[in-house]
Symmetry: C2
Subunit: 463 residues, 2 copies
Amino acid sequence: MSDSADLLDETVPHDEEEQVTHKLIGEIVDAISDSDAALAHGLFEDLHPADAADAVEQLSYDQQIALAELAPRVFGGEMLAELQDDTRADIINELDPGHLAEAIQDLDSDDMTLVVEDLDPEMRARVLAEVSDSDRERLESSLAFEEDTAGRLMQREFVAAPTFWSVGNTIDHMRRAGEDLPDLFFEVFVVDEAFKPVGSIPVSRLMRCGRDVRLADIMVAPQAIIRPDRDQEEVAYLFEKYHMISAPVVDDDGRLSGMLTVDDMVDVIQEENKEDMLALAGVNEAGSSDTVWSSVRARAPWLLVNLGTAVLASGVIAMFEGAIAQLVALAVLMPIVASMGGNAGTQSLAVAVRAIASRDLTVSNAARVIWREFAAGAVNGLIFAILMGAIAGVWFQSFTLAWVIALAMIINLACAGLAGILVPLGLKRFGADPAVASSVFVTTVTDVVGFFVFLGLGAMVLL
Amino acid sequence: MSDSADLLDETVPHDEEEQVTHKLIGEIVDAISDSDAALAHGLFEDLHPADAADAVEQLSYDQQIALAELAPRVFGGEMLAELQDDTRADIINELDPGHLAEAIQDLDSDDMTLVVEDLDPEMRARVLAEVSDSDRERLESSLAFEEDTAGRLMQREFVAAPTFWSVGNTIDHMRRAGEDLPDLFFEVFVVDEAFKPVGSIPVSRLMRCGRDVRLADIMVAPQAIIRPDRDQEEVAYLFEKYHMISAPVVDDDGRLSGMLTVDDMVDVIQEENKEDMLALAGVNEAGSSDTVWSSVRARAPWLLVNLGTAVLASGVIAMFEGAIAQLVALAVLMPIVASMGGNAGTQSLAVAVRAIASRDLTVSNAARVIWREFAAGAVNGLIFAILMGAIAGVWFQSFTLAWVIALAMIINLACAGLAGILVPLGLKRFGADPAVASSVFVTTVTDVVGFFVFLGLGAMVLL
């Protein structure tokens, strides 16, 4: 638990307010290299699990593994749940199955699943053999759902009450139930006789009503009822849109079987945002992983695709070798047309990917948005055509070269705007992620069009 | 409130589950063009405010303004609060101040502030004149804080209880207080005699304790106590890291003055992610705005900067005009070296910007991450040097050209890795946003280095 005095001291600059300081990391690294288990445990003792996870993430892969061997108790259940997915996957397979089974036993079922799902099959079997029967049952049914679905993310601890109960019945039930309830909850789900969720009541409202009030009179229809096979991104979107704090998850028969809470959805939102951003830049899933080799593996595939498209663009240039040999100014200026197109295309693309992710770009306004992107590209093309035409005209003392590059600029930036919106929309239409691969397609269009139009016009007019 | 039966019907494909359908948007557009106010009001009547806001965002700017004139009652307080910032700013200045004052009167103070802050000064004064004295006081003190700070975002409705109260006292107080409490709350803040927050108790825990239990015995220290001038991005980071649901905000004397809740933080997280993504692609703030002109304005500045750097890169090419005139293959191949460097640099940059935003890249591991990016760039450079060397060798039947492009590729991709990490770190060191302007700097490096090394080596060796 952080010291509130620290957080309040305005004279402390932002970085020193952090629990995980550069000094602490240095001490942890020293404890690891000195194999001082007691010191390592001591350094982590007072840290919030989230801070402990942050500290571990600052270490190199080798240091993380050494720490796991030296001081396994540092890796408690809550801290493991706080680690980033790739770090956790690296570390847990190095821990003792008995330790792991003990570490996760007090976690809510969603966090328990988070830890166990990253284990190798053999390790997973050994950990499952060590946990209690009821935990094993919960884990196995969670793991039966696909990754990145509501079923994987939900916790099986929730508070449900039948419609005919009063506020007083419900409060008494919660006081009695104790351990079986989740650590924290924000809504009581009201269920009918078939255990289907028919309403929800925020705890803060429940608390303000008299004991005699019937639940049926104060409940509201749940904002959303989630199926367990629903993709986590869609669920997070519902939470965000309707400002939901928790939501019921039902099984195939519509019976209440779990609960999703907003703090887990915040993690999903961040994960999806990170994926979109890295995908746009052409980095595969394991983008933020630690080692040189994993970084190379995460990036090489898209560099390979880019090499292919760059060679294609070069093929276009090669068509005009004769023109370039006669007028080298064409070679000097051609990257400007391609680069401006690439930039304009990337701008359109980022706006489009963002609008698709936030559901702002739909069939109802697609035509208008496509027109806007085309027109914005063409208008910017006109602005920079004038500017670049003037520069080229002065530089190479050629009025003809000036208007060739100007015309190429207008055409390429208008195409860039179109490609920036049509490529992600096309990918989405074919069921692909609009963020993945879009960049490469768009820059291929802008390179090929840019080189072809500029060199083609140049060859026609100038030679 | 959505119909739960709809949400459960698995035979309904995803898009039709939406409340805001293409059909509905079409009907709204028809109602606007027919000036049918009753129909417009009717179409919006049963929509959740978030869905109503989504529907309005699907309309063009002109349609939005026409709808505001035709059917102002569509723009209720909750719906206005749900609109995206730029859409809301466009619309509210077209509404009648009296209508606005009435629409916002039932909102929590944070949502009220959200609506009023976007008004023109004159409109704002007129709305403030119409609201109740207590609302005006709250609004004026919220508006006194900077935009994008905790003070602007916080709501002034919260539940506080002194340390010496029992659970029973607290519940009785909440039942009595009624209207003055926030619509929803998740924690009771425990305050000392100076009204400083010293603890917090989740409502779900309070509810499960007996009436005689003293608050002092069940409270925990607040995970964070927020100053009102704190930047919203930092606050959202705390919420995300510590899985917080609400947090107390204090005034200069440390007295409890407001509350932040996680649903508002979800909006902040999305806003900051959107800004980072658009900034990386070179789109200014108003990136998703509706009209062609606003799109042009949001993008032209970075296109201008890109034009400058593209001309710079062309200047490098111009240094080797003689070489190109003798060996046009240099002009054909040079964009490949630059393009591969640009891609590798963008990959490093996206990973770095993401790691800085999530606080994973710190002074403790910066040296290791810089090394990793350099090495990953160099290794990928080696891989694609071999591949591209082979392609160039076969294409132009020249072993010398093959190893010139291979060597240039290694050097440019290693520089790309370094630039991708050093540029955002450098911007951060100088207090700038690492996402803004990074792309342009990185691609300038990779263009200039790529052209210079490839053409320079080519000129030296081949001629």
